[in-house]
Assembly symmetry: C2
Homo-oligomer: 240 residues x 2
């Protein structure tokens, strides 16, 4: 069975202006790789209704699962819930179960559940809630789109919960070999090796540090025997 495919959609002006450095993409990429799900594309769009709707429609039609990050807080620029609902022509409103979670949380904190905070209970019709063990306000899954918070601690907790529920493919196995030669010297033998193992992904990553330079070669695939066979040939091509 081939692995299932996924895309990520990061929502936020602050990433595109350079004010904030996104860290959720790298976290999700590692979590999906470990779970045997192929992350095929990532996109960053601004806090713009039409941009979010267009990206959600495109990605959800193309990949098995879509993971979004950002735009589900209490402020006026948090518009992800409406936009994801609009992408599927689904009504969205304050939902009783989400409201109860927030009410209970703010009661315990002695804080008022005002209109702004209540925005975090906007959930599209038919969506399943995603648990938020960090700060309570839930994410949600609508069809194949998993809508999660942008705050890294919350995003990471939600990813753990969603990924554990998805059907797992074979996790990707990877191995690497360090060659003390430049990328231009290893490219030709490496290309022939890649041709003999079409099911594997063979990547090369040059490094240069303290006057020493070389290439890290990474072999990735779902079949451990094939990865091992390719590594054996690689080590024979470039002995330590």
């Amino acid at each position: 069975m081939p692995n299932s495919t996924a895309a990520m959609l990061v929502i936020g002006d602050e990433i595109l202006s350079g004010r904030t450095r996104d860290s959720n993409m790298n976290h999700l990429a590692k979590a999906l790789t470990d779970a045997g799900i192929d992350l095929k594309q990532a996109r960053v769009v601004s806090d713009d209704h039409d941009a979010i709707v267009a990206a959600v429609r495109d990605l959800s039609a193309t990949y098995d699962d879509v993971f979004t990050s950002g735009g589900i807080g209490p402020t006026h620029d948090d518009i992800t819930a409406e936009a994801v609902a609009a992408a599927f022509d689904t009504p969205v409103g304050i939902r009783a179960d989400a409201r109860a979670l927030l009410q209970d949380h703010y009661d315990r904190m002695g804080t008022t559940l005002n209109d702004a905070r209540l925005r975090m209970a906007r959930i599209p019709e038919g969506a399943d809630l995603i648990d938020n063990p960090v700060s309570v306000a839930p994410g949600f899954t609508l069809r194949n789109v998993h809508v999660m918070a942008g705050v890294p601690a919350v995003f990471e907790a939600m990813v753990a919960s969603v990924v554990s529920k998805l059907a797992h493919g074979a996790p990707l196995i990877s191995d690497n070999w360090r060659v003390m030669r430049g990328e231009g010297d290893v490219a030709e033998p490496l290309s022939r090796l890649a041709d003999s193992f079409p099911a594997l992904s063979i990547g090369s990553y040059p490094f240069q540090k303290n006057g020493i330079y070389g290439t890290n070669i990474v072999i990735r695939g779902q079949n451990a025997d094939q990865v091992n066979a390719a590594m054996t040939q690689l080590k024979a091509l470039f002995p330590a």
Copy 2:
């Protein structure tokens, strides 16, 4: 004159597998913001011909400029030049001026310009070269697509060269104010402030550190008087 718009396309399996953390997006975002160019979207795709072609076509038709990062080295998985050429139905081959740059560089290094290294002279017909002051192998601009290296030092040098040549819009001015209250408390007044300044972008970014929590509020716009007026109102709403 409205600012010109841009998109970024990051090309590389290593980003989507989580092996490498992209840093070029944040660098480009800051450089474009400083130059008054609006980065509207960023995408990450794998080293896959069809995925690169589709993304280049879509982004170059939608935005004024597209900046790509990655896939122009000497190895078999460096396929960006062919894919960008294919996106515009343009022939691609070893170009004499790019070859001469490489030949000269490797002659000085006492290294052979082998077939793999020669791949770095593949330039689509009609493209302009982008100077690489770090490691010589050039990038190129084809129509509105600027094709640059993934290695951060090279990417950054190429961005500086390309961005300085593009027509500049008004640079974005930004100012920020730290409020020692939660996002849920500032959301409503902030939303009214945003309504009174439709030309400005007003964002809020919660923080929590060592038991202290609050919200950073950032006001961005092209008109300094408007940014200042909004800041004055903001400080009146939330005095220090």
